[in-house]
């Protein structure tokens, strides 16, 4: 069966695995920062909890919500990747990620390992209608860190 390659890339096993078994899923008691995101297109909501330590490192992060495979996988991957990082590093990751899913050059801010891990989401760029699904959790994390109005996946 000649299955559409871009679909296979979008819904590759890593993505489906993240969406079915999201990492860091649930509520984080004692969070220092909480943000809520909303995708008005589908009504999906996500909540991101962060715990920053005294050096402004993300010592823990969790998320909860309902969503499509793309948004859940993206949130799961994000939490996996930013935990233990400084805010500056998390921001760099986010910048790279936003470029990636829009099909743009990721830039030179990220190291090889980070690029490779983010790259599983690259398939989204072939589906412009789904970019918002992929970016929702990231925008929500950012709004949580900035003190929290409801994020929209713009």
């Amino acid at each position: 069966m000649a299955m559409d390659d871009s679909l296979r890339e979008l819904y590759q096993d890593v993505i489906l695995d993240h969406s079915r078994h999201p990492r860091h899923f649930g509520r984080l008691e004692g969070a220092t920062h909480v943000g809520e995101g909303h995708n008005p297109l589908c009504g999906d909501r996500v909540k991101v909890y962060l715990l920053l330590d005294r050096d402004n490192r993300i010592s823990d992060i969790k998320f909860e919500g309902k969503g499509c495979a793309i948004s859940l996988a993206s949130a799961s991957l994000m939490t996996d990747m930013v935990v233990g990082r400084s805010l500056e590093e998390a921001e760099k990751l986010m910048g790279g990620f936003l470029h990636l899913v829009k099909g743009e050059d990721v830039g030179s801010d990220l190291n090889e390992d980070d690029r490779e891990r983010l790259d599983v989401m690259a398939g989204v760029s072939a589906f412009p209608m789904r970019v918002k699904c992929a970016t929702l959790a990231w925008h929500t994390m950012k709004s949580a860190l900035e003190g929290g109005a409801t994020a929209r996946s713009e």
């Binding site: 559409d4 489906l16 589908c42 009504g43 999906d44 499509c68 495979a69 793309i70 589906f127």
Partner: protein
Amino acid sequence: MSAEAKTRTPAAFDPEAARSDFEILGREIYGKPLVYLDSAASAQKPRQVLNAMREFAARDYANVHRGVHYLSAKSTEAYENAREAVRRFLNAGSNEEIVFTKGGTEAINLVASSFVAPLIQPGDEIVLSVMEHHSNIVPWHFLRERQGAVLKWVDVADDGSLDVDAVDAAIGPKTKLVAIAHMSNVLGTVTPLKEIVSRAHAKGVPVLADGCQGAVHGKVDVRDLDVDFYAITGHKLYGPTGIGALYGKRAHLKAMRPFNGGGEMIREVTRTNVTYADPPARFEAGTPPIIEAVGLEAALAYLSALDRDVVAAHENDLHAYAREQVRQFNWLRVIGDAAGKGAILSFEADGMHAHDLATILDREGVAVRAGHHCAQVLMERFDVASTTRVSFALYNTRADVDALIAALGKARDILG
């Protein structure tokens, strides 16, 4: 030949022949033939509509009700002929009862702002069902926020049907309006509108029907329904976007305050005073969608030339066939199975989000709607975040259903 003469001698309906009127159905999406199952969001337009708009714009166009020149007269005539076509389509008693709007949303907002708002004291009630589209919810929320109105929600049964007794029970001494869809855009439920109107009128309460879906799938007779207001939109009726209409009983419209202010809707303007035109002009401020009105007339003529009962039977057959076919997927749950429902099939899929499903269907050329369908209250009622919605139109065939079923199988392969 007038459209009226055409309705007296309806042609036998042949969906394959009808398809050839819709050029877009011949195109491919990602190399696959387009299977368009999203007509409840917006229907495709036959060449008769596109040609009528083009020819009018190319030959007879000018502003309406303004100049004394030849083209202005031609345009005014065309615009008013379109109003007459809408009157006939809804079987209203008079052209003065037909107000052109931007669409169904504006028609309902007009009623909210010009008819209901002046009646509302804090605590007064609007009765509406949980399956309303946001366009028949948010205008009433405005009245709640601004004037203290109370929204009285009528639930639907688990099969999506709306019980007339439940509506009746919600109507009390403080009810100022019943606002109800003629047909649900998500569930396909056709509401017992005539009965609702008669119960509401027995208590002296007027009824607004959102007919954006209802008018597409069956004949509407506003006089037989005795409904006070009926809203339609052009683009779901195979006509253009940017135009719709509000039917309102003459006595209501005459008593209503204006909606938007501007040109066309006035009788006289001085430095200290303004007086308003009679309906329908009172509610049509500014240059109206003239070319779109011509397109709407062509769309209504197109529909009226067909035997609408045969078209409805064709659409219902497609729905029944699809309903039967999806039974093979035990991971799929249909939402809305009311008796006599229209040709809309909504479902939820186990472990598959509607957007993922719709993305995969799209790559198979199958266009469906995924999301909350501007009906978040209904989504909450059925405890789902979103659904996938398949909607049928006159140009769909059983082959479209077969393509849908095959694509659903592929989606399960990829996501399941």
